[in-house]
């Protein structure tokens, strides 16, 4: 039997993947350019016996997720840049309480109200914390609708496995692009732990408490934070997703994440056709960052070029990964527009020529 292939917008694909992965609770608040997520959820959730709530605000939405996740449900929320800023308080609590959930950020231009076009200005917010305190999110940055579908499904498993929120870091371009998607049957990506911590009423067991307040001894919070650090180290050692393209003999490594990297890949192909020795590294998980891949590449390549739809955030992680052992050129595109393969190729030629 042929696998079902249908045309879906990125935003719709996330919903279909979530529902296939047994997500049964969604709370969100409308904001462009991610509105197809709550709209499709509103239509689809009742069909599978799940819950959709249009919350009164992003704060309420993320705190509904806090409750639903604590109650043991697979749950998801989505938003776009200004809305994610509002959710950060709740995200910090969810990370501190070690609750699993999937959060999508379909990034738009900023800061402030910015505009509703594709941008990548929330990278720091996504991978460095954003909300208060020491925490990390697993951050996945797909570069196409099929990959978005596949990773969304896995995101629920990784969230459960590590008891940590997973952030799908997309942008308006990915959310609004329609591409053919092969729908896949959900199979757990890993052995999933029992949710014996969930709040289900304490029938025949001791009562469960979900909390983030760590009073008591001076060491109480330090102990909890050390435990979190150990968990984050484990995630770093186990989870790294990266695409390498023609890097073996590359003199110049181009890098970026998400849709920008896909555009850059087109430019790399065109550069190769011109005989230029150029390759691409595209982190798919931007936290954990695929540091080893960059380190290895830095041993051979002469230079790096980072392309991103912001004025320079991801570029800092590339420099850190290669410990500044090779020059890193930067092509930043801010303000809610994206570079074309021609723009990137032009930059490649300048960098190689210089």
């Amino acid at each position: 039997m042929m696998a079902e292939k249908i045309l879906l917008k990125g935003n719709e694909a996330m919903v279909e993947a979530a529902i296939e992965a047994k997500c049964r609770f969604f709370a969100g608040y409308p904001i462009t350019p991610q509105n197809e997520v709550p709209e499709t959820m509103a239509r689809r959730m009742p069909q599978v016996g799940g819950t959709f709530i249009q919350a009164e605000s992003e704060l309420a939405a993320i705190n509904m997720i806090f409750g639903a996740s604590a109650a043991g449900a697979r749950c998801m929320t989505s938003s776009s840049s200004p809305g994610i800023s509002l959710k950060l308080e709740g995200i910090s609590y969810i990370a501190a309480a070690e609750l699993p959930c999937v959060i999508a950020n379909v990034q738009r231009g900023g800061p402030g109200l910015g505009n509703i076009r594709a941008a990548q200005g929330d990278y720091f917010q996504a991978v460095k914390g954003g909300g208060h305190g020491d925490y990390r999110l697993i951050v996945l940055a797909p570069a196409g609708v099929q990959e978005l579908y596949d990773l969304t499904m896995k995101a629920f498993d990784w969230a459960d496995l590590y008891r940590n929120p997973v952030l799908m870091l997309g942008d308006g371009l990915l959310g609004q692009t329609a591409e053919p998607v092969v729908k896949k049957k959900y199979r757990p990506a890993c052995k999933l732990p029992k949710k014996d911590w969930a709040l289900t009423g304490c029938t025949n067991r001791k009562s469960n408490v979900v909390k983030t307040l760590m009073l008591g001894s001076v060491e109480a919070l330090a102990d909890h934070n050390r435990h979190l650090v150990q968990k984050y180290k484990k995630i770093e050692s186990e989870l790294s997703l990266v695409e390498e393209y023609m890097t073996d003999d590359a003199e110049l490594i181009v890098s970026g994440y998400g849709m920008t990297a896909r555009i850059a890949k087109g430019a790399v192909k065109n550069a190769r056709a011109k005989g230029l020795k150029v390759g691409l590294i595209r982190p798919i998980s931007v936290w954990p960052f695929p540091t080893d891949t960059f380190k290895r590449a830095a041993e051979k390549a002469d230079k790096f070029l980072v392309v991103e739809m912001s004025n320079g955030q991801f570029v800092e992680d590339v420099k850190l990964a290669i410990e500044c052992k090779k020059p890193v050129e930067f092509m930043g595109v801010g303000g809610g527009w994206y570079p074309t393969p021609e723009n990137v190729l032009e930059k490649i030629e300048t960098v190689l020529g210089g």
Partner: protein
């Protein structure tokens, strides 16, 4: 009648100040849960503020929420487990200032939860700052000349405000400053839980309570303050009983 320990309350000594009403309200909630035999299917939410350590005292599943968001968190829990009994326990800052939106919208959605709202007209744990329910002329560390109607606005009357929402099932204001009032408070809290057992929707019980520490008066005077000052501004009574039971 024999006065016994409840099954729900643990043996841990509470951290509350002498003369504070939280101990009484905890006891009333616990008695209701015990009498209805629902401890093993109850999920509570603890607020930010004095009652944040609720989970040290209640032996049932508890989540400690961020400031003001309990009604949203409780909504998530209740929608996942419609057969469980979900209650929030919130103070005046939590429910009527930072969490006003969550309160109004959970009420308006008719979420089938029970809200225990402890109103002592001041911020307790943070040290006696002005609350949304601080009364005109009442001094606090952030209204040192007394709350002024023109500057800070009059106190928010939560039961009166929510009574205008069609989605709400039950609203009653009670107090815990006298034995008679405590008995009435228990009855109201019990009704809040039985409403939920009967899937009737959103119930909120506002409990006028004492805070001698931050009012900077003796516990005995605090009891009188509730009687003579607070009850004038926040009259006791049933503000809504949609199904009339």
């Amino acid at each position: 009648m024999e006065f016994k320990k409840t099954k729900v309350l643990k043996d841990n000594p509470t951290h509350y100040c002498p003369g504070c009403g939280h101990g009484i309200v905890h006891r009333l909630v616990a008695e209701c849960i015990d009498e209805l035999g629902i401890r093993e299917r109850t999920i509570g939410t603890a607020p930010v503020g004095c009652a944040v350590l609720l989970y040290n005292y209640f032996d049932c599943d508890i989540i400690e929420c961020s400031h003001g968001r309990s009604p949203a968190t409780a909504t998530g829990i209740k929608r996942v487990h419609p057969d469980k009994i979900v209650f929030t326990y919130q103070g005046d800052g939590d429910l009527a200032a930072i969490g006003t939106a969550e309160t109004i919208h959970a009420a308006n959605r008719g979420e089938n939860i029970t809200v225990i709202f402890v109103n002592n007209a001041i911020y307790g744990m943070t040290g006696g700052q002005m609350a949304p329910t601080t009364m005109i002329g009442q001094k606090s560390t952030t209204s040192p000349r007394g709350r002024g109607e023109n500057h800070e606005g009059p106190p928010i009357k939560v039961c009166e405000l929510l009574s205008k929402l069609d989605g709400v099932e039950y609203l009653e204001r009670v107090a815990v400053n006298s034995a008679k009032d405590v008995r009435r408070a228990k009855k109201a809290i019990r009704k809040g839980f039985t409403n939920q057992l009967g899937d009737k929707g959103f119930s909120l019980i506002e409990v006028l309570s004492m805070c001698p520490t931050d009012w900077k008066i003796k516990p005995a005077e605090a009891v009188n303050f509730v009687e003579e000052d607070m009850k004038k501004v926040f009259p006791l009574g049933v503000y809504k009983n949609r199904s009339g039971d």
